[in-house]
């Protein structure tokens, strides 16, 4: 397993380089002017514009810009945003918040999703199964901004049960609860369905029948044998979802004004702020790679038939 991990870690290097280059090129190719809005509703004076282009290397051709960027990156310098803020400071401040939010959403969707999935899987075709089927269908078909906007308005503004927005550098558990539930709601629906389908399939398999035949109690046969194998697609999904939640919480972060990575990424893309976009995405890529490695290692634990040696 050790060599497997090392091989995977080494594979990450070209992936990270390739990803940063692709992102950098895409930001470079984006239409839009980084100077737009810097001087209000009018074009910037030439001296100001020239100094700005000079400072952010905007006059250089793409390979040189990228070379300068990677050179700085190798020394741990993530560069500056176009409004003169150090990207590294923003990443340090924002990633923990988004990570907290993503973990809370993940816990929410995993605990409830798997529980619901198991219950519906065991009693397939029952009332609960149908109820969950319909309600998850509803949740999946409603976009997150509707869920977010409505829950913010009714639970936050009207009933005052939750804070309306977060807007804090150190958000509390309570402040992030509503956003985490909104963020996790769609994945919750997927997880419960995934668990259910996978469990139903495994319950029909030979080893479960054997386990039951040799006299194992149903609870043990389902809980230990069937569920463990059924969790493989669920764990894959959760691992993928964590990375997705980190970078994809744009809508939720905007609705609840959470100073996390999603909103930052969105705004930076719109402002064509190369340094911020590439810096944020680089960290995202690294997180993605590590989570996927973790997921692959978990397979071995869940299903002894999978081996990494």
């Amino acid at each position: 397993m050790g060599t497997y991990v090392i091989r995977r870690l080494l594979q990450m290097i070209p992936v990270i380089l390739g990803a940063t280059f692709l992102i950098f090129t895409m930001v470079f190719a984006l239409p839009g002017d980084p100077l737009a809005g810097k001087c209000g509703e009018r074009p910037c004076p030439p001296a100001y514009a020239a100094a700005f282009r000079e400072k952010y290397n905007l006059n250089d051709p793409l390979p040189i810009q990228y070379g300068k960027y990677v050179g700085n990156l190798a020394q741990g310098d993530f560069g500056e945003t176009t409004n003169g803020i150090k990207v590294i400071d923003q990443l340090k401040a924002r990633y923990p918040i988004t990570a907290q939010l993503a973990l809370m959403a993940l816990a929410f969707e995993a605990i409830i999703g798997i529980t619901v999935g198991v219950f519906t899987g065991i009693r397939r075709g029952g009332f609960l199964d149908n109820l969950v089927l319909i309600s998850t269908l509803v949740v999946i078909s409603i976009p997150v901004f509707v869920v977010g906007g409505l829950s913010q308005y009714f639970l936050g503004v009207r009933l005052g049960l939750f804070p309306v927005t977060v807007t804090s550098a150190n958000p509390t558990f309570y402040q992030l609860m509503l956003p985490a539930m909104v963020l996790g709601s769609i994945s919750l629906a997927y997880i419960s369905r995934l668990t259910r389908t996978s469990l139903v399939e495994n319950l029909r398999s030979d080893y479960v029948r054997t386990a039951t035949a040799k006299g194992l109690r149903r609870r043990r046969a389902v809980g230990l044998h069937a569920l463990r194998n059924s969790l493989i697609p669920v764990v894959t999904f959760i691992g993928f979802d964590f990375g997705f939640l980190l970078g994809g919480a744009i809508v939720t972060e905007a609705i609840f004004n959470i100073p996390g990575v999603g909103g930052y990424l969105f705004r930076s893309i719109r402002a064509r702020d190369g340094a911020s976009v590439v810096g944020t995405v680089t960290v995202l890529v690294i997180v993605f790679l590590f989570v996927n490695l973790l997921v692959d290692l978990l397979y071995g634990l869940l299903d002894p038939r999978i081996s990494h040696d």
């Binding site: 001296a47 700005f52 409004n83 550098a169």
Partner: protein, 553 residues
């Protein structure tokens, strides 16, 4: 025509006379706080946005940083939030005999937040710093009228993109600025300027303390001004905290002890916080709340809307670039074919005001209906006028806009309106971004009509005319040239009496209707909302909330 009836109370307020008379009208300024009595002190939280530049007054022309700068820096002149009329702040008097040499006397006792006194040299040094091109300050161009400005500019040829490369300007100080003593300095302009005192209220003309010049970069993070509020902290991307400056000696002091700007990414989030009374004021109402005036029922008696100094126009390419639109009658016909009211209602949810001239109603010198019938929707007359001019010779009218901002909807609606009224094909053409559009316009390659807007630099009628329509002016995108117009501007600049100057400017504006260098579409309007804790919310002519008059109930 809702909203256009508001008159700016300037007729009797003669700017220079008032300024020269000193600060005679201290208490009259505080007029119309609603019934609820305001108390002093207390702390509020308002919506903020990310300043785009370091907080240096000479380098900020956008509103996110501008609102903070305005609260932190006091200027020679303060604009009344209601009328945009200038009143002396640091200036004791600004006097001139000939509209060319101005003697500025400062009040004693004004202090910067670091305790040093505001002296004449603080102004002179700050303005020179702003004007000196290698410092690359975005508001440097405000100093242009001052004698010697040209010597501080770059004219290098090494790099066409950057005139400052390998070039050092002739001088670092403008010859037109002279310190007489600690509390007096003189300004000499290269041409006659009748409204200089009105201009001096803009943040570009703020004084800077000596500590600025030691380390401008550190200053940009924690500016030290002489305004009613001092900046306590700026947590990038999250919050800006201002507190009352105890030693502020002027008459526009703060009522509140503390203002927290919470930075929001999204107007909806800020708005919902105002609804829940978690946020005390927002100067941006989201589109979702503007539809059917929803904000008025959400925030009864806690909302306000007011015109700001922004005008949207459509400019015609210069005649030698696109001769199809040369005949003023064709231009007038197109203008009359635009149903401004409907477009404003359908596309902007009523957040614009149909333009009746080329000057925003918020400024000193505004006169309504300068465009007359040519800015009123009248498809029959428009068609008749077009026929009189012999019809449109090209195959279609084009209206170019920059596609990187929300201009597609209204340009298409405008084109549809033209098409329906005139029976001539009209197409809205997206240009990839603002910079590209400006480049094409600047190189005189953009044909047909294109969108232009103007955000005022200072609240004066002159600012809506001279920089845009004077022969050879910096923003004269349509190469408009009318000797009569130019002559009137020169005459106006020489007038001693501001009312007489404004009258001349109005005469000049009226000439635009005959030539139609651009089509006035609508004026911008700012909409704000606030919580039930605060009172005295006033919108300035720049569309921002005036924080020094804000107070807790």
């Amino acid at each position: 025509m809702r909203g256009t009836t508001r008159k700016v109370a300037v007729a009797a307020l003669s700017a220079v006379a008032l300024l020269a008379a000193g600060c005679g009208s201290g208490e009259e300024g505080e007029t119309d706080t609603p019934a609820a009595e305001a108390k002093t002190g207390g702390e509020i939280t308002v919506r903020g946005c990310n300043p785009e530049n370091p907080l240096i007054p000479q380098n900020t022309t956008e509103t996110c940083g501008g609102t903070v700068i305005d609260a932190v820096f006091s200027k020679l002149v303060h604009y009344e939030p209601e009328t945009a009329a200038p009143k002396n702040d640091i200036a004791e008097s600004i006097e001139t005999e000939d509209n060319q040499t101005f003697t500025v006397k400062l009040k004693q006792g004004y202090k910067f937040h670091d305790g040093t006194e505001v002296k004449a040299k603080n102004f002179v040094d700050a303005w020179n710093y702003g004007a000196y091109a290698p410092n690359a300050q975005s508001s440097g161009y405000f100093m242009e009228p001052i004698e010697g400005f040209a010597d501080l500019q770059c004219a290098g040829t090494a790099n066409p993109e950057d005139p400052c490369e390998g070039f050092t300007p002739k001088a670092k100080e403008m010859t037109g600025l002279k310190v007489v003593d600690d509390h007096t300095f003189t300004i000499k302009t290269s041409e006659k300027v009748s409204n200089l005192p009105v201009r001096l209220g803009y943040s570009a003309f703020s004084p800077l303390p000596d500590v600025f010049f030691a380390d401008p970069e550190a200053f940009g993070d924690k500016p030290i001004g002489s305004g009613p509020f001092k900046l306590d902290s700026w947590t990038k991307e999250q919050a800006i905290v201002l507190s009352k400056f105890a030693d502020y000696s002027g008459e526009f002091g703060a009522k509140l002890d503390k203002i927290n700007y919470k930075i929001y990414q999204d107007a909806d989030a800020a708005y919902n916080d105002v609804l829940a009374n978690n946020l005390d004021a927002t100067d941006e109402i989201p589109t979702s709340a503007l539809i059917d005036d929803k904000y008025k029922t959400d925030l009864p008696d806690r909302n306000a809307q007011k015109e700001e100094g922004v005008i949207q126009t459509v400019t015609f390419a210069p005649v030698n670039v696109d001769p199809l639109y040369a005949d003023p009658k064709i231009r007038q016909a197109i203008s009359m074919a635009i149903d401004r009211e409907t477009i404003i209602k359908q596309i902007f949810n009523g957040t614009r005001v149909p333009a009746t001239g080329w000057v925003s109603p918020v400024v000193d010198g505004y006169k309504a209906d300068q465009c007359g019938e040519f800015c009123k929707f009248d498809p029959a007359k428009a068609k008749a006028l077009l026929q009189e001019a012999g019809g449109f010779k090209g195959d279609k009218i084009t209206l170019a806009y920059n596609a990187d901002a929300a201009h597609k909807d209204w340009t298409e609606a405008t084109c549809n309106s033209i098409k329906q009224a005139l029976g001539v094909e009209c197409a809205a053409v997206g240009v990839v971004d603002f910079a590209t559009l400006r480049q094409q316009v600047g190189d005189r390659k953009q044909k047909g009509m294109f969108r232009t807007g103007w955000q005022m630099d200072y609240p004066s009628i002159e600012n809506f005319l001279a920089p845009i329509y004077k022969t050879g002016a910096s923003s004269n995108d349509g190469d408009y040239s009318n000797p009569e117009f130019d002559a009137l501007l020169t005459e106006a600049a020489a007038q001693q009496d501001p009312a007489a100057a404004n009258a001349k400017y109005q005469e000049a504006e009226a000439l635009l209707a005959a030539d139609m260098p651009s089509i006035p579409l609508w004026y911008g309007k700012a909409t704000v909302g606030w919580s039930d804790k605060v009172t005295g919310v006033k919108i300035t002519a720049f569309g921002t909330i005036d924080y020094s008059s804000l107070a807790l109930k």
